[in-house]
Amino acid sequence: MTLSLHHEFSSPDHVVVHVGGRLDAMTYNELDEAMLALLPQVPEGGTVVVDLTGLEYVSSAGLRSFARIRKSMRARGGHTLLLNPQPQVRKVFDIVKAVPVSEVFTSTQELDAYLDRMQRQITEGDSDA
């Protein structure tokens, strides 16, 4: 089993990256290279959702790739949200406290509710100004 990757823009500033298979010391490079090409297309302040539904396995090499995505998005005022990690991936995240729990979502509904809240905060912030 190798790594599978694809992505779609659900809006111009919101991209969903589906990561499936195994993300390890053999395959993390594929993700890094794909993100190097993709992330510059996401505008400042945009959002990357990494959908982990199909990811069966991650090792520390893969954790470092996720950290690079989050670092790169953060540098441009953007967000990285992780969706639906499977048991092995959750376990590894828990052990190394890889990501803030507030940025990991177990379902699309939960993620959408969060994005709506974020949207409202921005809108309300705008009307205050």
Binding site: R68, Q88, A98
Partner: protein, 264 residues
């Protein structure tokens, strides 16, 4: 591998009753220039003990000049509970000989050597690979197949894959800074409630139990250098990890206990 220079037969204990290993011996050391010493091979199983002794035991005599003899020696050892430690065999035998001899004078030197194998029987599989990333991943797949055939549950196999990946990738990346070709050996021993793995490499000495815990702030993206995570994962997930540095090898003994309730 055993060879004997005219000694009493060693006794194998812990495999049923005590067994005399009556293989041919050579002449007493130092008598002839061209003595021949036939070799005898024996593989100790876990908990088995090989007992060797000088004839001070069998020729120990009481007041009436009766010798202790090999039958009494075997009988004495038969009274030791199975899976006893080497101490248990030695204490029992010396105690019985002392009681038999009572007040009579000691006739000859008495030396007893007991070797107990505390590890596992090497009934599992051994893989040898070059210290290259591609070989490591080939080995991980083979291990996974072997463990699946042995009926190891998927969640445990996945844990084992992670630990073995982290440790072997670390060896490949840091074990051979001079670029020489290294070798990694993996011994897999699936047992009913645990899988024992030995990981042996000939790289730089490295004890994965030694590095301090990484500083986990709750966000890897906060950190400049993300090192030590793999070793931390390996240490956390393996049920037990023991390190020894042999002459030129790092030797890691890993145990992976079956999750509760899933033992086959």
């Amino acid at each position: 591998m055993l060879a004997s220079a005219g000694h009493e037969p060693p006794i194998l204990c812990g495999r049923g009753g005590p067994q005399l290993l009556d293989f041919p011996t050579g002449a007493v050391l130092g008598l002839y220039e061209d003595s021949d010493y036939p070799e005898h091979r024996l593989r100790l199983g876990r908990g088995e003990t090989l007992l060797m002794y000088t004839d001070g035991i069998t020729e120990a005599s009481d007041h009436e000049q009766r010798m202790y003899g090999i039958e009494r020696t075997v009988e004495s050892l038969a009274g030791v509970p199975p899976a006893a430690s080497s101490d248990g065999y030695i204490e029992r035998l010396l105690g019985d000989v002392d009681r038999f001899v009572a007040e009579a004078a000691q006739a000859d030197d008495i030396t007893v050597l007991a070797l107990t194998w505390h590890g596992t029987t090497v009934s599992g599989s051994e893989l040898r690979i070059a210290s290259q990333l591609a070989d490591v991943f080939g080995a991980l797949d083979r291990c996974d197949n072997l463990l699946q055939e042995a009926g190891v549950p998927a969640a445990l196999r996945s844990d084992m894959r992670l630990v073995l990946e982290e440790l072997m990738v670390n060896t490949v990346e840091y074990g051979y800074p001079d670029g020489r070709a290294g070798q990694i050996r993996i011994l897999l021993q699936p047992q009913p409630d645990v899988v024992v793995v030995e990981l042996i490499d000939d790289g730089l000495a490295f004890d994965p139990l030694h590095p301090p815990e990484p500083d986990l702030t709750g966000d890897l993206a906060d950190r400049e250098q993300v090192g030590g995570l793999g070793i931390h994962l390996a240490r956390t997930i393996a049920s037990e990890m023991r390190y020894t540095r042999n002459a030129h090898d790092n030797h890691l003994l890993l145990r992976f206990a079956y999750p509760d309730g899933s033992a086959s």
